[in-house]
Amino acid sequence: MTDQAYNFAYLDEQTKRMIRRALLKALAIPGYQVPFASREMPMPYGWGTGGVQVTAACLTPEDRLKVIDQGADDTTNAVSIRRFFQRTAGVETTERTTDATVIQTRHRIPEQPLAEGQILVYQVPIPEPLRFLEPRETETRKMHELEEYGLMHVKLYEDIARHGEIATAYAYPVRVEGRYVMDPSPIPKFDNPKLAGNPAIQLFGAGREARIHAVPPYSDVVSLDFEDHPFAASKADHECDLCGSAGSYLDEVITDDRGTRMFVCSDTDFCASRQAQGHRGRLSPQGATP
């Protein structure tokens, strides 16, 4: 049920128009961070205020919304944002990736390949990939203007010099359509290949930093690397202990105080679907029926 005290999807129409204009420019300049007049939302910065504003600007009453937090539908951030739009927009919600038309995500891309007609909205803490290398906004803006991305390669090179490999495991920088270097938000680098050639529209909202960027469908998105140290999408070298999947991104869960651990899919919908199809992992309950 919609809370009638609010406009549809919480934000007022003028704010939505402002965000919508920024979204169209973001799509027209793939990977470029468009400044926008980010509003205070009824949740703290760092809880997805940017993603929530982008979702609010995109939602229609007919949408089915899915919200994930590190792949999971049932964690605090996901549940609270899903409830927020249930109340303020009255939209249907779902946990199934294939049924959703809009998916707001914190730091994962669903395992299930996305399709045309779907929109993936990322929550972004720090949109500027060069920020930890150069703290001044005036300088990073100039570096983007001049395509001066040598510093990022130096950072990756230092990884190799120190660790023998590129140790950056999340928020791994990408180059979009051969022009802008973009931070894909702190998704594991395992998800980076899914950014490229994706049929869905990918929108990124950073509330505190007041930036929106986007990757249009079927875009060319290349993870930065070196010829002799090519990019590799890595994950824990295990199978899921609940569904047996060998190809999905895994969370490591400590299960007692003697170092026993289990590995489970980070994407809860993917794992549950596989279990429903009868797939079993090492720690699945014995004799349990799907």
Partner: protein, 188 residues
């Protein structure tokens, strides 16, 4: 007078949401044609151009009206429904008119090297909008798209400015398509 007061969105929040989704999909998938509804702007402006104005413009977006679009009825309609200030082409964030009337398109803002988003969006009224003719490739297009463009040279020159450039929303009746600066346009 009545023509000025009517023809806006009856239910702005949901109608503009539907309209924006069409605009978002159009800008994300250049060359693909979408049908929109909800606005009845005065002649000679199309439904799709009216929808784009109501969805994207307001008192913060300077608008340029070119050619036929610069008429008393439309100026009143825009003033009442959006409040967008009317300005010369060089200052416009949005511009509306036929392709001929918008010439020379090099007048419009293409952004600044450090802020390429500070550029104009042209709402181009066309007599014909069909998925045939000029070949489009680039972000948002899987292999190639075809679109009946009034010309290709201006869009090629615009693409050469990337990441600067203007973006176009092409309208015809109740249908619209988009052509962002990132799209490569070739003759059929």
């Amino acid at each position: 007078m009545n023509a000025i007061l009517t023809g806006g969105f009856a239910d702005p929040s949901t109608q503009s949401a539907h309209a924006f989704r069409a605009l978002l999909e159009a800008m994300a998938r250049p060359g693909r044609i979408f049908t929109v509804a909800g606005a009845q702007p005065p002649a000679p402006i199309s439904v799709a151009a009216g929808v784009a104005l109501l969805t994207l413009t307001d008192s913060t977006t300077p608008l340029h009206l070119a050619g036929d679009a610069d008429c008393e009825a439309l100026r009143g309609w825009i003033g009442f429904h959006t409040g967008a200030p009317l300005v010369p082409a060089e200052q416009a964030q949005f511009a509306l008119g036929g392709w001929e009337a918008l010439q020379p398109v090099t007048r419009f803002r293409t952004g600044e090297p450090s802020y390429p988003d500070r550029s104009a969006t042209l709402i181009v009224e066309l007599d014909r909008l069909e998925p045939e003719g000029a070949r489009l490739t680039g972000p948002g297009i899987q292999t190639e798209a075809r679109l009946s463009l009034p010309e290709t040279a201006a869009f090629r020159a615009n693409r050469a400015l990337f990441p600067l450039g203007f973006d176009c929303i092409l309208t015809c009746g109740a249908r619209l398509a988009a052509l962002p600066r990132s799209t490569t346009v070739e003759d059929a």
